[in-house]
């Protein structure tokens, strides 16, 4: 996208949005126990939880139901079938059919709760093998992972959080699912205004030490909210600009593509991209 196209895109970002405060409490867990029962873990109760580091888990036969305490994210898998290849099965399914099958399971499990999710992407687990110097086996697809993105204020949530992922095997039977949607406690602040394009581009150029249109290309720009991954604590859910970047002349003169996030609101909170390069050299000598 050239500057003109980006400016046009920026005009579409003039919407109403808020910075939300996250409810960081993990209790009560009643709703998650109900979800576990709907997922087939019958007879589970408050006393069923095992604490493993930052996780709370219930095991029932081959089912493992996990709560990630920093985010209250949930994952439920059948460990005998989740991402496991039976050696022969393969699936050929359209994205549309995969999404339809996943949504059926989402409804059955009542995973949406009070939130809104929209289909975002269909992923496929590919498998293959080969003898050294031999011919590799034919690639097979052994599961699909349908990603549904959370929607807040009509804006999609980006990042490793703010989604449901449904895993289905070749018979379109569910092998696992995850849900990361932090509970919102309330509005921390309305967005006061949106950061202008040139301000954002300048920040990106400085971060990557590369100039716009001189090695740095913006392939896509989006406005959304950001949720972090399962093990990360997050105090606020705020609007961000998500930029798909293409960086030329990287290691060995190769291209790199990255997703870059910056706060979108003029009253946005904190920096989103890591900037600390770590400790100084320890002076290793051997």
């Amino acid at each position: 996208m050239d500057h003109h196209a980006l400016a046009e895109r920026w005009h579409t970002f003039d919407v109403s949005a808020n910075i939300y405060e996250v409810d960081s409490a993990i209790e009560p867990l009643d709703d998650l126990l109900e979800l576990a029962r709907r997922a087939g873990l019958e007879g589970v109760s408050d006393g069923s939880w095992n604490e493993i580091g930052p996780l709370l888990e219930i095991e029932h036969d081959s089912n493992v139901f996990t709560v990630y305490r920093p985010s209250r994210a949930v994952q439920c898998i059948d460990s005998a079938r989740w991402q496991v290849d039976d050696g022969v099965s393969t699936m050929e399914i359209s994205d549309e059919d995969a999404i339809a099958a996943a949504l059926e399971e989402v409804n059955h499990l009542e995973l949406v709760e009070h939130d809104i999710f929209r289909p975002f992407r269909v992923t496929r687990l590919n498998v293959a093998s080969a003898e050294k110097e031999g011919i590799s086996s034919q690639r097979r697809v052994v599961d699909i992972g349908v990603v549904l993105s959370r929607v807040i204020d009509e804006l999609p949530v980006e990042g490793q959080g703010g989604n449901i992922v449904m895993y289905l095997d070749t018979n379109l039977q569910i092998t696992g699912f995850q849900r990361i949607a932090r509970r919102v406690a309330g509005v921390h602040e309305p967005v006061h205004g949106w950061r202008p394009l040139d301000d954002v581009l300048s920040e990106v150029e400085t971060y990557w030490e590369i100039s716009f249109d001189s090695g740095l290309t913006v392939e896509d720009a989006r406005l959304g909210y950001l949720e972090l991954g399962r093990l990360e604590k997050q105090e606020f859910i705020q609007p961000v600009y998500g930029l798909s970047l293409r960086l030329s002349s990287q290691e060995n003169d190769e291209v790199r593509t990255v997703e870059h996030y910056v706060t979108a609101a003029t009253n946005g909170i904190g920096a989103l991209m890591p900037s600390d390069s770590g400790p100084a050299s320890q002076g290793r000598s051997k």
């Binding site: 493993i52 687990l125 003898e131 050294k132 593509t257 320890q282």
Partner: protein, 250 residues
């Protein structure tokens, strides 16, 4: 599922600019330190034994290369002297781990590695392009990773259990994937599965594609290790590597 096996672990990272005068051509990648530090903290929290953590000028190409392939190579005392090794930083496509140091060069060439002839069971190369899709993933896996899993004179055709890395040039700025991976394997999730779950991108246009490559004496053996191999297998090995089996999420 949880087996709470403790293993030896080590971490290296490359988060700053290249050393001037080296053949490498990368710029600073602070996210690599964020990934590495989260891995270190998580591994410590689960009680795994820290063998070494080296970053930037202290992380050397010789740590990865085998002395039978490169005279200065010292992998048997470093990368191959720990059960679980995690590197976060830059890579050159199908060529090398690229380091912000110049200890006999800045590139640890894949062709000079002989992985898993010692203690190494699982290697995570959290970098770009260890596998490409040129012309397809299958060709790239065999082209790049056959020889590093060929073993050495004392361990012919023996290697590590599973290599976890990425396909292609997309780099996710989700800096907690390493911590998620270590958490999952520590609780007993199979290593290859844990990597795919921790590292595949849930949003964005530039989608990183994690891949897990396992070694075995034949197809079923490699597939079983790919799908079921856990930290509890730490005392098994080096394992036969006549066959490779891999899985990736696209």
């Amino acid at each position: 599922m949880a087996d709470f096996t403790r293993v030896d672990f080590a971490v290296e990272w490359n988060s700053v600019n290249k050393v001037p005068g080296t053949i490498c051509g990368f710029k600073a990648l602070p996210a690599a330190w964020s990934v590495a530090s989260a891995v270190i903290d998580t591994a410590r929290s689960f009680g795994h034994t820290e063998k070494f953590v080296w970053g930037n000028a202290d992380a050397w190409a010789t740590d990865y290369e085998h002395s039978e392939r490169e005279p200065n190579g010292n992998s048997v005392n470093w990368v191959d002297n720990t059960h679980l090794m995690y590197f976060a930083g830059h890579g050159a496509a199908e060529l090398s781990v690229s380091l912000a140091s110049n200890h006999h060069g800045c590139r640890a060439f894949y062709r000079n590695m002989r992985l898993g002839v010692g203690l190494l069971r699982w290697l995570v190369l959290d970098l770009c392009d260890a596998v490409t899709d040129k012309p397809d993933v299958e060709t790239s896996v065999m082209r790049v990773w056959s020889s590093p899993t060929d073993g050495d004179a004392a361990h012919p055709v023996q290697a590590l259990h599973v290599l976890c890395t990425f396909i292609g040039d997309a780099y996710s700025i989700d800096t907690n994937r390493g911590a998620e991976f270590v958490t999952a394997v520590s609780r007993g999730t199979p290593v290859g599965t844990a990597w795919l779950d921790a590292a595949f991108a849930r949003s964005g246009k530039n989608v990183n594609r994690p891949i897990a490559i396992a070694c075995g004496r034949d197809g079923p053996d490699a597939i079983a290790r790919r799908d079921h191999g856990r930290l509890a297998d730490r005392n098994i090995g080096p394992v036969p590597a006549a066959q490779l089996a891999w899985k990736w999420r696209s």
